[in-house]
Amino acid sequence: MSIALNVVTGFLGSGKTTLLNRLLQDESLGDTALLINEFGDIGIDHLLVQEVAPDTVLLPSGCVCCSIRGELKDALLDLLARRDRGEIPPFRRVILETTGLADPAPILATLNNDVQLRGRFHVGLVVTLVDACHAELQARIHPEWLAQVAAADRLLLSKTDQAAAPAVSALRQRLQTLNPGVPLLDTHEVLSGDQLLLGEGLRGATPEVEVARWQLHRPQGQVTSHGEAQVCCLTFDQPLDWIGFGVWLSMLLRCHGERILRVKGLLNVNSLQAPVVIHGVQHCLHAPVHLPHWPCAERQSRLVFIVRGLDPERLRHSFDVFARCFAPAVEVSA
């Protein structure tokens, strides 16, 4: 059975270890293994702690973003081996705390692409902590900040008590614009055992609830901008051809993945009654998920992209051309 790996990321000093230390005091996380990439000052000796140092091996695609983090792989396989030998108690979830400067995409790529990890682990949720006091500066100076926010399935604001209320309010607005629909909480509101953090998102028991949070139903072509990031929504009324769509998106992510910080979509695929859900971060797309039924009467394919330095209009035009070109033509000839 595949084990969920939830990633806790956030910029340096955003309070990741503090949050985890608070949450890990509770017994509800007793079945959770924790991987951190730096040993912190806070002792978490009742749980499994293993250091993961950065180590990369390029995939055949040659993409730096999609590199395999070798030592993460080793650490995960070692956890399984130690569990099987009875050296550590059984666990059903892994939480990985990243370094503050980490881009989450290579971690996700490691789990998706490595043949030894695939099937044993899967990405559950990406939880990003945002430092309310320093977010503006970090966003301006460090490109990783935006990547972490865009990759998030959950956003947590820390240090809100130390920042001015108007600034916190503006930051909330900014985060909701950058990553629409993502649950946004203050860290002090998060309780141990909270399924918002411990759940598995799309891989959980109710993927339709997760998809409903994505707010995919926004007007076609609507583009919202915040700084260098833009959020654009693409729609297509006719059923899509999965083969043609796969060729288009795989080309797009290969060519422009570094500028596509996030993609989420609900697709009406020809020959399938129920919708197919896709989502990914940069070059890395997760395995598609089938929903049991459509969330509404409208059966329209919808994609939301969070992009940086990519013209949404060109993206829309390309999607339209591919969707029109492949869906009817291939279907008729098949």
Binding site: S61, C66, V247, M251, C255
Partner: protein
């Protein structure tokens, strides 16, 4: 891996066929047909190799074997010096008349 020829299977990819409406081999040929349409402006062709890989053929006779889509796009770029870019106006123009 095939026990007779020692070939590894194609890389698992998120875009692999979703249902079982068509035989896997048929879906693979449809994918190769779609790939050939988008690689035509780069003067590249793709053929199936043993049902497990893609044989990429350049205009100069150069050939490369790709084990999956991601490697295919990478090899296409290295063989032509140009990325297979779905935003490329030339590519989009070549696809438009067929729509």
């Amino acid at each position: 891996m095939c026990g007779l020829c020692g070939l590894l299977g194609e890389d698992v990819h998120w875009s692999d066929p979703l249902g079982d409406g068509l035989p896997r081999r048929r879906e693979r040929l449809r994918r190769i047909s779609a790939i050939n349409r988008v690689l035509a402006p780069l003067r590249l062709k793709v053929e199936d190799f043993q049902g497990t890989a893609y044989l990429l053929l350049g205009a100069t006779g150069r050939q490369e074997l790709a084990s999956g889509l991601d490697q295919l796009w990478s090899l296409a770029e290295s063989m032509t010096g140009r990325a297979a870019d779905p935003l490329d106006p030339v590519l989009l123009q070549s696809l438009e008349p067929a729509s």
